[in-house]
């Protein structure tokens, strides 16, 4: 088992990182009931951990016995019949699904499938009707129509089910849905907290972890706890006992983007652009999301620039990333950004050095 999963806190009391949020959540469910919840925060902050711990607190250990199913639905939409397939993770008490997996048909999932699930209410031992919890991942990736359908579902079936929504950016969830939920912001843990967790993990594993090295792992993880623990494990495989000046492994795709950034700064020509294009393609086919590439590439380029140019570059990065979201083929916009950067940089070089 990976350390990330092994040392994930399973109950709200054991949460060391978001202790305060956990405490509030505990108060919230202590009466046996909760409103709809919306967890938002960057990835690796611990949203899922909090949700699972919350479910366990509400339902006991039964909530952890999950089964993964691939379910198929037939939905009638007007005259057409639509087949949907969706992977769900469920226990007796909760169902977890990612409606955005079905792409543009997500509306039907929200309208029909959730409705269907919400209709069957679980019975308690004494025959009273309880409620189910529906965990929806990546609500920010849902289409606007699907989000609009969600609000009715939330009101209509509020007696039979509670929705727990989970997303990265709250800006992309429509106001109407947000206002119906209790928002819970989950921030990334601070460096100190990450170091503390790293020490905790290595103590449990019986390893000695030099403080300086722990600090470097925490720094390289960019406050992402999941990443920090993964890279600790990777470092352990690579070399143990740890030394103070041991290299923290960078992700290979990040190293690759650094390489691309170097290529761009070293030469600005159509030939180089063509070469960069090939490399960007390489990243895309390896399933690195284009917006992540764009962000990383911008940050790498920034490191090599005068402050005068930085404003300009960050503006164009935002501009082309927006275009990318509206368009359908990411490579065009990534390439456009690179070309724009080359043009700005070349002009800057000519103006400065002649």
């Amino acid at each position: 088992m990976l350390w990330v999963d092994k040392y994930r806190p399973h109950t709200l009391e054991k949460c060391t990182v978001h202790a305060q949020e956990a405490e509030h959540l505990k108060n919230l469910v202590s009466s046996g009931d909760c409103p709809h919840l919306l967890f938002y925060g960057p990835s690796g902050a611990g949203k899922k951990t909090l949700i699972m711990a919350l479910l366990r607190d509400m339902y006991g250990a039964g909530a952890e016995k999950v089964k993964v199913e691939n379910k198929a639905w037939k939905v009638e939409a007007g005259t057409r019949k639509i087949d949907l397939e969706l992977t769900t993770v469920s226990s007796n008490y909760h169902i977890e699904l990612t409606p955005s997996d079905v792409g543009f048909q997500d509306r039907y999932v929200v309208q029909e499938v959730i409705k269907e699930m919400a209709k069957s209410r679980p019975l308690t031992v004494d025959g009273v009707k309880g409620f189910k919890v529906l965990v929806l991942n990546e609500v920010d990736k849902l289409s606007k129509e699907a989000q609009h359908s969600l609000r009715r579902t939330m009101e209509k079936y509020s007696a039979a089910c509670r929705l727990v929504l989970c997303c990265n950016s709250a800006s992309k969830v429509i106001e109407a849905v947000r206002s119906r939920c209790l928002p819970i912001r989950v921030n990334l843990p601070s460096q100190e907290e990450i170091i503390k967790v790293l020490h905790f993990v290595s103590k449990k594993e019986g390893l000695t972890l030099p403080s300086a090295f722990a600090g470097r792992i925490a720094l390289a993880s960019q406050r992402n706890l999941r990443r920090a623990i993964l890279s600790l494990e990777a470092c352990k495989v690579q070399q143990y006992p740890f030394t103070d000046n041991q290299q923290v492994q960078v992700m290979d795709w990040e190293a690759y983007i650094t390489e691309i950034a170097n290529d761009i700064v070293n030469e600005q020509s159509p030939k180089r652009l063509f070469m960069v294009r090939g490399k960007l393609y390489e990243l895309l086919v390896n399933c690195i999301p284009p917006e992540v590439i764009m962000k990383r590439l911008m940050l790498e380029l920034m490191k090599k620039l005068d402050s005068e140019l930085k404003h300009e570059v960050c503006h164009w990065a935002a501009f082309y990333e927006h275009r990318m979201q509206q368009g359908s083929k990411a490579i065009f916009h990534l390439e456009a950004f690179v070309a724009k950067f080359m043009s700005i940089y070349k002009k800057f070089l000519i103006a400065t050095f002649g």
Binding site: G130, R151, R152, S171, L182, P183, Q222, H311, A318, Q325
Partner: protein
């Protein structure tokens, strides 16, 4: 054991929704006109518009209840809102079917005028086609059916529909009326709220009663019966003022890397960027040491970024661009670089 939904599950917004037109807070003109038509039992087609949480739906439901009484409401009133499918097909079948049926006898004790009421909530999200299809329906069945449109933006209702209705504008609720109502709910629910928290609640909700009540209920669920100003801020999703202040300070410094660092921190803390933009906008417009030209430059980019976010743009890049633009404006750097 599965937990039981207790009586506390009912949202307070529903629990404290006024049942009588006279109880609707702060909309005197609207209430006066409507009371008149309640007495005579005559109702024109209605169009309610105004910002969210000002009592539009409440008023519409209260009228229906007062006209027909709790029993007859079920058959005489149909409420459709945006989450119902309201394409052109629904207008052609469901709405028409409801509008066309003749009414039965009334019950005693209520005016029970001989018509039905069709409430179309959030009418501004109906497609233009659907609205067009309604035009004729409205006229043909005006004998037996009154329409009540509810919307936030009257400009999104097509003119032919708007001109067939009596229009009522609902204005945002004043601070005092809001405070009264909140204090009333606090008394009923046994909460204690100090003046500062009350003030924050008023500020956070900006005249939106529903938002204020939802906030209050969430806070009471999370933090118990003693609620402070910070508690309100943390459940409302509003970004604390010092975060915005920090962003502005780093922009004033003229140091790009510092601004980038601040933006990275903000994103890592998980604040919603759309919220930050709206608060940044407030802060900038209010600032006294910023010239009009600077304000204009900043606001223009904030508006663009807001649109980009709605289109699904990346939060980090958009906020970074806004910060960089704000810095250029505040430090009087040229808008356009010479190298483009």
């Amino acid at each position: 054991m599965a937990p039981m939904p207790g009586p506390s599950t009912q949202p307070w917004v529903e629990k404290y929704r006024p049942r009588n037109v006279n109880d609707v807070a702060s909309q005197e003109e609207v209430v006066k006109t409507l009371r008149n038509s309640l007495e005579t039992g005559n109702l024109p087609h209605l169009l309610f518009y105004g910002p969210p949480g000002t009592g539009k739906t409440t008023t519409a439901l209260a009228i229906a209840r007062q006209l027909f009484g709790p029993e007859l409401v079920k058959t005489r009133v149909l409420e459709l809102n945006a989450s119902d499918d309201r394409g052109i097909n629904v207008v052609r079948t469901k709405i028409k079917d409801f509008a066309a049926v003749a009414v039965g006898p009334g019950v005693s004790g209520y005016p029970c005028p001989p018509f039905k009421v069709l409430i179309l909530d959030e009418a501004d999200s109906m497609t233009e086609d659907a609205q067009n299809a309604l035009r004729r329906t409205m006229e043909t069945y005006s004998k037996v059916t009154r329409f009540c449109f509810i919307c936030n933006y009257i400009s999104r209702i097509i003119e032919p529909l708007a001109s067939r209705c009596a229009k009522f504008r609902f204005k945002p609720l004043g601070r005092e009326i809001m405070t009264d109502r909140i204090q009333y709910i606090c008394r009923e629910e046994g909460l204690s709220l100090d003046d500062e928290a009350l003030n924050t609640l008023g500020k956070v909700s900006g005249g939106d009663m529903r938002r204020a009540i939802t906030c209050l209920q969430s806070a009471s669920r999370l933090f118990g019966s003693r609620i402070s100003s910070e508690n309100i801020i943390s459940v409302s999703g509003v970004v604390p003022d010092d975060v915005i202040e920090k962003l502005l300070t780093s922009c004033r410094s003229g140091d790009y890397d510092k601004a980038q660092g601040t933006v990275t921190d903000i994103i890592a803390d998980g604040y919603a960027v759309s919220q930050i933009l709206s608060q940044l906008h407030d802060e900038v417009v209010r600032a006294e040491d910023v010239t009009d030209e600077q304000k204009a430059r900043i606001c223009e980019r904030v508006a663009e970024a807001d649109k980009c976010l709605i289109d699904g743009g990346d939060e980090y890049l958009q906020l970074l661009d806004v910060a960089s633009n704000t810095m250029r404006a505040l430090c009087n750097m040229p808008q356009e670089s010479t190298y483009v």
